[in-house]
């Protein structure tokens, strides 16, 4: 179920990412890389013996100081799962991974829109869920309505 951490490190090292941080947590096997290394890491993992063919989902979390992106990969032939994380600054530009995993097309648009990031290399980087002019609603600085506002609708 969990891939071998040394194999993952070896594959990433061959792709040029030396000494990546791979740990086992409650989430599973988590591999932390720099934002610029995500695309080469995915290209390497997809074509390797580990055969991670599907990007199950991606999400972004506002940690308070920056935004942490988390990608969830799955291999069906080996029945293994891997999580890849990277940290970007607020209002940063993230490179799309749709070339390796087309299932990232809409989740990336949604994450960029709700957390205030910009997408590069995406065929359709428009807003997905909200109308123009809405602030990034998933940031911790975006507040929900108070009871007072609801009562006085």
């Amino acid at each position: 179920m969990l891939p071998d951490a040394t194999v993952v490190k070896h594959i990433l090292a061959e792709a040029g990412l030396a000494d990546t941080d791979v740990q086992e947590t409650t989430l599973g096997l988590v591999c932390t890389v720099a934002p610029a290394e995500v695309a080469p890491a995915f290209a390497a993992l997809k074509d390797s013996e580990l055969d991670f063919v599907m990007l199950v989902d991606l999400m972004g979390t506002d940690t308070g100081e920056d935004i942490e992106l988390s990608y969830h990969l799955r291999s069906f032939t080996r029945d293994e799962e891997l999580h890849v994380k990277c940290t970007v600054a607020y209002d940063a530009e993230i490179a799309s991974v749709w070339n390796a995993y087309p299932s990232a097309l809409m989740p990336e648009r949604e994450t960029a829109e709700l957390l205030g990031l910009t997408l590069s290399g995406h065929p359709n980087p428009k807003r997905l869920l909200t109308v123009d002019g809405v602030e990034p609603l998933l940031r911790k600085s975006s507040l929900i309505r108070t009871l007072q506002e609801v009562r006085e609708r």
Partner: protein
């Protein structure tokens, strides 16, 4: 009064002057190649939705057409974006089920179960075996109810109206059972972290068995009514094919993935609750067309019926909930828990920082991947097939927009 060119510019199909990036795929209204007798035609942009009798929710499809054939399609969503993920950061852990009920609203038990499993995994709570069996029983009842809604509306999408009423009739039996057990016809709020709300009422076992004994025959009747209809078969066979590699690349799950030939079922391969005790087959299609997806779901209903009988026969003694504190405070950490809902793999990625509300609650919806795949496979089909293909994939806009 907006015309087609305004809509095209708004959705980016017609790039404003001087803004088209040559590195990206081409966009814009294209002229069709010169045809017979030097006749040239323009493509027509048609807007389907958000108010549309057949889009299974508020989906807006903007299709560019060359005559009757689709050249490109784009889905515009967000008409039901209600902030389930944001509001979850302000709700206690045992109230998350109420939000998940309203995500994929036709199969509420699966959503509640996913969030309960995530909390239990993080807090390492052991729940009584009876609660596991009750969860599986209600999950399978809800799966049949959801597939009946799909069956009724899928026929409507191809123009058949009779099977809708038969499906609703059978669904009323199930909804009565669910109402007796959980108290509500739709927003159950039954599966909680630690167990379930209550045990089965007196006489419920007999009522469920009565339904289950007759359902296989009803299912055969429904299949003969719709699937045996030659017009339906001509409309559905060979249309809307998603091949195996595309299905994996676009992140499909559930019946859509199995219809394309990948035998992955979260109940069997990542067994949770009491599914390790259940005996069931997982139907897998071969070509990935709409007919395969239809047959996979019909067979899934039969297997769910089998599991309902196994749950009733093997129901253990014991309590229906573990002793959990009134206010749950999981330790800091992250967890991902998935269930096989009627639409695919519903996953919850939960981040906790030790407080009494989640820090981040991400709801992985199986229908979102399907929408991306639809944009890819619709070109080449006829306009009438669009509605049928959307229906064959059984999307639910509540969970896509969250």
């Amino acid at each position: 009064m907006t015309d087609a060119r305004d809509i095209a510019t708004e959705v980016g199909m017609l790039a404003p002057e001087g803004t088209h990036d040559p590195g990206l795929p081409p966009a814009g209204i294209r002229r069709a190649p010169e045809g017979v007798d030097g006749l040239t035609t323009e493509h027509l942009i048609i807007n389907m939705g958000p108010q549309h009798p057949s889009t299974h929710g508020v989906l807006r499809m903007i299709v560019e057409m060359d005559g009757e054939e689709i050249v490109s399609a784009e889905a515009s969503i967000g008409y039901l974006h209600r902030g389930i993920e944001k509001l979850a950061e302000h709700r206690r852990y045992n109230a998350l089920g109420t939000l998940m009920d309203r995500g994929d609203y036709v199969s509420g038990i699966h959503g509640e179960l996913a969030s309960a499993l995530a909390v239990e995994k993080l807090m390492e709570i052991e729940i009584p075996r009876k609660a596991d069996y009750l969860r599986v029983l209600l999950s399978e009842i809800n799966r049949i109810a959801s597939h009946l809604v799909w069956f009724g509306t899928f026929g409507l999408d191809t123009g058949a109206m009779g099977q809708f009423l038969y499906a609703m009739r059978d669904r009323e039996f199930l909804v009565d059972i669910l109402e007796s057990i959980t108290g509500s016809r739709m927003m159950f709020n039954y599966v909680r972290p630690g167990g379930v709300l209550a045990d089965l009422p007196v006489g419920m076992d007999a009522q469920i068995r009565e339904f289950s004994d007759g359902f296989d025959a009803y299912l055969q009747e429904h299949h003969e009514l719709l699937g045996g209809n030659e017009i339906f078969q001509h409309r559905v066979k060979g249309i809307g094919t998603i091949d195996r590699d595309s299905a994996l690349a676009f992140g499909l799950s559930g019946a859509n993935l199995r219809g394309s030939g990948v035998a992955f079922d979260v109940r069997r391969d990542r067994a949770y609750s009491a599914y390790d005790d259940m005996e069931f087959d997982v139907p897998v299609g071969s070509t990935g067309d709409a007919w395969d997806r239809y047959m996979v779901r019909m067979e899934e209903m039969r297997q769910s019926n089998r599991m309902i009988r196994q749950c009733l026969d093997g129901m253990p003694e014991g309590g229906f909930t573990a002793k959990v504190p009134k206010v749950l405070r999981p330790p800091a950490g992250e967890v991902y828990a998935a269930v096989e809902s009627s639409r695919g793999e519903t996953g919850i990625h939960l981040v906790s920082q030790g407080g009494d509300t989640p820090y981040r609650f991400h709801y992985k919806a199986p229908s979102l991947a399907v929408l991306q795949a639809l944009e890819e496979i619709l070109p080449g089909h006829l306009l009438a097939d669009v509605v049928m293909i959307i229906g064959s994939t059984d999307i639910m806009l509540g969970e896509i927009d969250r």
